[in-house]
Amino acid sequence: MMYKFFLYSILIMLYLGLAKALSPTETGIQYLQNERGFSKIAKDNRSTLILIDTHATGFLIKTYYQKYRLITGYDQVEELIVRTSKEFARKNLPHIGLSLYRKNDDREEFLPLPPGSAYIGDTEFGRWRKTRKGQVWKFHKPFRNFPKYLGWGEFQPDEEFFKEMKTHVSLNKPFFGVHSEFGPNGEVTMTNFPHFFNNDRKKKVDMQSLLIEYFKENF
């Protein structure tokens, strides 16, 4: 009996080991244990990582994924999916639509801030322009696509926004915008990163409608 049990355990371990080595989710997708792993994803200088979606798969044992938009300082943008730990995924659930990582020369910042905060106030990327609303941030022509990449839509950061952001940075507190425009409850994030807020995601499973739909589809 013990011999059979031992053999069976060996088989299970052998299967798990081999399957892990071959699994595309293990080999093809980077694993992000915590924020310390961001530097492996965003290697270029002046890059910023915006968390745009998060997702969990699995029945009993969940696997957590996060989707980031990586913007490197000189007009390069790409979206990438990483596998992550449960703790890190849960911790960052309230930070959807925020920039979780910024790299400037050798300095790394991990405080969740609205996307583009690394570039606002930097004259290399843009300048403050006077409008009827007051001073607003405008990117230079080579970076004219940045508001689209950063998911700003119609949003234009003003001086008040910039000052508030600086205060939050000095207090080491996450910042969601002056009127909480960013984050899971922010309008700007909801409009520009709509995937996470898709109604299908929130839909609760109703057994009756599920069965009716099943019978309609199959019979």
């Binding site: 299970i12 081999l18 071959l22 997708i29 994924y65 999916i81």
Partner: protein, 300 residues
């Protein structure tokens, strides 16, 4: 009409050619079983030794099964397609007989064909041999289809298949309550039904493991191995489950040990074990191959 008639003639000629290949096989059989030379090469008398008839004609079923995997491509010309069939038919015959020889050497390492079939007319041995013939043919057929006319891939897969089969036949002693060697000496038919079910079940599982798309031979071999290990994990669950759902009674209540042992050696117990093994194997292939987990990469 002329075209249809021409095609009919081609079919008849090809059928005749397949018969010719079967004739070649008859001689090839003698290479591995030289002791039956006189019997095979002259007229066979089935009534004289039914065990030998079963042993010989099970090979016939096997080779027919394998030949059915080779296809004729008439578009490349009649003679070329016949040549293709002849080449692959010969390869199939060699691989099949070699596989049978190796597998039977593993399973019947304590037994000799001449003693068991020709002298003792052991029907249990013949039935087990019949199951081997069918299973090995089925697996060789699968491997030949997967090789897609590549001799190198065929040889790699064939060797790989033999290793898996060689290991799996040893698995029988772990999962059956019947003692193989002792019961085979006793010509016990319970054993052949139980082992037959096991061999067919193992064949179904191994064939299903080999039946998958392949682009890279290394990855393919690892995937086959993974599926085989997964089957080894799943199969005992079905076996235990089926034994639990359909319990059997061996011997009278309070009966002695000998009565239980005698019941275990009856046809009924052999059928029972064999049926559980086949059913468990079929259900295992369902769990291993028929569960779709959706896309591997998370698109969201």
């Amino acid at each position: 009409m002329a075209e249809i008639f021409d095609r009919l003639i081609i079919r008849v000629l090809l059928a005749a050619f397949v018969c010719l290949m079967m004739y070649v096989y008859r001689y090839a059989h003698v290479i591995f079983y030289p002791s039956v030379k006189r019997q095979v090469l002259k007229k066979i008398n089935p009534a004289e030794n039914p065990a030998d008839s079963l042993h010989l004609f099970s090979r016939l079923i096997g080779i027919a099964l394998i030949f059915s995997s080779v296809s004729f491509n008439e578009t490349s010309g009649f003679f070329l397609s016949i040549f293709h069939f002849a080449v692959w038919g010969m390869i199939a015959i060699i691989l099949y007989l070699l596989s049978l020889y190796i597998v039977e050497s593993i399973v019947f390492y304590n037994f000799d064909y001449t003693d068991e079939i020709l002298k003792r007319k052991n029907m249990s041995y013949a039935v087990i041999s019949f199951c081997h013939s069918v299973v090995i043919a089925f697996l060789t057929r699968t491997v030949m289809s997967e090789a897609e006319n590549s001799l190198i891939i065929l040889l790699v897969l064939w060797l790989y298949m033999l290793v898996i089969v060689g290991i799996s036949v040893k698995y029988y002693t772990l999962i059956s309550r019947l003692t193989f060697n002792r019961l085979l000496i006793q010509k016990n038919l319970s054993l052949c039904f139980s082992y037959g079910g096991f061999a067919l079940g193992a064949g179904i599982i191994i064939a299903s493991c080999f039946d998958q798309e392949h682009y890279d031979i290394t990855i393919y071999c690892i995937q086959v191995l993974l599926k085989t290990i997964l089957s080894l994990i799943i199969f005992p669950i079905f076996k235990k489950g089926l034994f639990y759902i359909f319990p059997i009674k061996l011997g009278e209540t309070g009966g002695h040990e000998g009565q239980i042992e005698s019941d275990r050696q009856s046809y009924g117990y052999g059928f029972y074990e064999g049926a559980v093994f086949i059913a468990g194997a079929i259900l295992t292939t369902m769990i291993v191959n028929r569960i779709q987990f959706g896309t591997i990469y998370p698109f969201f």
